[in-house]
Point group: C2
Chain length 499, copies 2
Amino acid sequence: MALVRLLRRSQHLARIGCRSLSSPSPACPPPAPNQPNFPCVDAHAARESRLKARRSKPAPPAIQQDAETGPEPPYARPNPTTYHTYHHPHPLQLSYSTTPLPAFDIAYETWGSLSPSKDNVILLHTGLSASSHAASTPANPAPGWWEKFIGPGKAIDTNQFFVICTNVIGGCYGSSGPSSLEEATGKPWATRFPLVSIFDMVNAQFHLLDHLGINKLYASVGCSMGAMQSLAAGWLHPERVGKIVSISGTARSSPSAVAMRFAQRAVLMADPNWNNGFYYDGLPPHTGMKLARQIATITYRSGPEWDLRFGRQLRSNESPSLPDQSHPSIQRPPALCPDFLIETYLDHQGESFCLKYDANSLIYISKAMDLFDMTLPALQALNIKSNTSPFRKKMHTSSSVPHKTSHSKSHPPPVNPPPYLPALAAGMAPLAHIPTLVLGVQSDILFTVEQQREVADALRMGGNENVSYYELGGVWGHDTFLIDTLNVGGAIRGFLSLS
Amino acid sequence: MALVRLLRRSQHLARIGCRSLSSPSPACPPPAPNQPNFPCVDAHAARESRLKARRSKPAPPAIQQDAETGPEPPYARPNPTTYHTYHHPHPLQLSYSTTPLPAFDIAYETWGSLSPSKDNVILLHTGLSASSHAASTPANPAPGWWEKFIGPGKAIDTNQFFVICTNVIGGCYGSSGPSSLEEATGKPWATRFPLVSIFDMVNAQFHLLDHLGINKLYASVGCSMGAMQSLAAGWLHPERVGKIVSISGTARSSPSAVAMRFAQRAVLMADPNWNNGFYYDGLPPHTGMKLARQIATITYRSGPEWDLRFGRQLRSNESPSLPDQSHPSIQRPPALCPDFLIETYLDHQGESFCLKYDANSLIYISKAMDLFDMTLPALQALNIKSNTSPFRKKMHTSSSVPHKTSHSKSHPPPVNPPPYLPALAAGMAPLAHIPTLVLGVQSDILFTVEQQREVADALRMGGNENVSYYELGGVWGHDTFLIDTLNVGGAIRGFLSLS
């Protein structure tokens, strides 16, 4: 029996990537049976071992399904036959570098039909880690990340609009980013890829619009980082943007949001597999990605939702063994690995994401969000400019701030405004003539409701007399834009319908 | 010249722990001069290298000063001559285990003079990572963690009170914890140390009080996790606690707080150096500790404070090199390592903490906080009981909840109370006769103001007619209790003075 146990243990250890039975290491649980064991930590080594085993096999298909854990390629690049790719063979000027990106690809998908006059186009911008697959298409019937909002009769009505969604520059779902091959070397750019800004992402999208012969957008629509892009589109090309929808975004990343993204980048970059970003020949930093996603998930949801959804419930997949088994609230002794449902939820969110997205893309795009700042001095320091008409250019290149503090009697000056509000209003002055919907969520801890008020206030102070502003309650926090079709969808549909 | 450069680079790499010039690794910056470099990541390898170098030298003194980075022992156990230690030679019953802790040490310091009748004792409880050194003493003149609050004429007036502060069981500053030697083996317990609860920490403290011949406390005082202990003391020994002060604490850890502590434990336990907790013969998980502390720091402060203190200011220790150098807000191109002051602040907080505290203690004590729950069913599931008189015992061991929903006309029933409030009131009923001060901070994201209201409401609903309740504004978040001597100190002094 002892031999059988030893054999079983040996097989188990081999499976999770341990070569020795005698030397405890983070990859291997300690050998003695009465030593503590940490399955939540062993999971990292087990994943590493599975990835290594796959690397030694013949080239896998683009997305390989794992019975236990879902798709597990190094990261999940979607099938390129299900989206379009525009190759821009000319240099892209960049915000933070005098050296342009030599050329770039941009992946995109579309829904609805382009009108003969090409005046029904909605450019939809994505959040940090989303692909161009916002909704199902004939080529890819899988539900998209905004499936419930896009379609005939939905918030973004494809009976009326031609919707375009791209993967952002810097991403890993078909557009050029750190994982793309550099033409000059034939190798992945890795961290030699230049830093990109939200404005650079949008400029790349406008090169796509040029290619498609689309001069003016009916609307630029986005949530989260997509809202930043939406506002950036209005600043870069005010004559080409008919309306703006900014949902749970910001015009100036706050130090709190920077802090929360910094914590994610720090854990990711500390993963030895990250290797300064040069991991494409080896294994991706899957442990760092899991840990980063756990932190991110905390910022995406809200405490009130977790109170309702998880409370202090314990995970239930273990047999009870506590002295007092009579009470259902504690069924077994607590452990240092996850006990509460909230912990297993975060663990699962991290596990299911850690191989689906490129780590360098996460770092680059998260940094682009941190750097986003539409106050006038920050915009003036960029290596790119707003493509405004001479009249409008005069308005926003002046370093003086607008004198008016409110655009109408219905919107009195904000109470206790942040000190930078006039500078933000000056920076956003090119958007003065673009009707804009600003929508925020009171339980959002990442893009706080104060930041939503700030966007609306800055636009109004900058002279915009067509700012629609809504605040939503509810418990979903930042992720509300993915969930609340009734309120988010209703506001969008109403705003887009107004002539 | 090229040879000199190569030699310098070789020396630099050797200093930060890199053996090869040709193979890029997380420990070593890539060799080619035009390759990206990440000093924020290299810092982990450099720290590892310094620690390794020290291990090969003769045994260092207890705390070794490093000119660059401050004290760097494996972790900073304070000089044992500056605090008292009580050794309890008998077993300590534990909340989550039928096997008791065989014996334990408890480190403590005192201020003021014990009155002849021993009726002027304040037991001060610490937060997660604090030592018994709450204020300077003749033996240790270094300022303590609550220096501004303890002393003659201060909030806790040592002209009047005899103050005792202990290092908690599970800690690493002189009390028994995972880093202590297990008597049976002569080796550090590591993760074989049993899980302890907040109640176990307090029971250990009461064994110390027994040893000192102190029957009843004038008050049990604590902030953050100390507030949990303060309330736990009232539940465990209601006849021995005269007053309770609970500042920025909770009676039931929320899923949000669990999530934020889980994220810290997860990054720490993923550090290969953690080695399932068995690192005392090797190097401590300093990288994981740094990353965990960065996350913790985010939860200790508040967004409004960072808006005022850091805003979007960039760190300034690099020479300007951007195309547009005319504007002071951006002096150099951004990088993937810290750019903003908020990032360097978090980096510094992590760096300065990562070798000062034992990683296993952090994990154990953080877990004890997660498990803290004074709702009746959770208390009933513990392996320990409240030492109430028969009359009181009847009150709180009944599984029915109190029928009254408010104790007086001056405090109407709470609006929109959480569903567990009656269960919390039932659990806290043993505290009904202990005057209690509950104080919270509106900008606290870790122990939210809703949780402060919950503590006060549950106490009142449980029959306590002497609940003082204050909410503070201000921008300091959870750390307010360390900073705001005027408001926090004033409320404590007033409450302690009331007869």
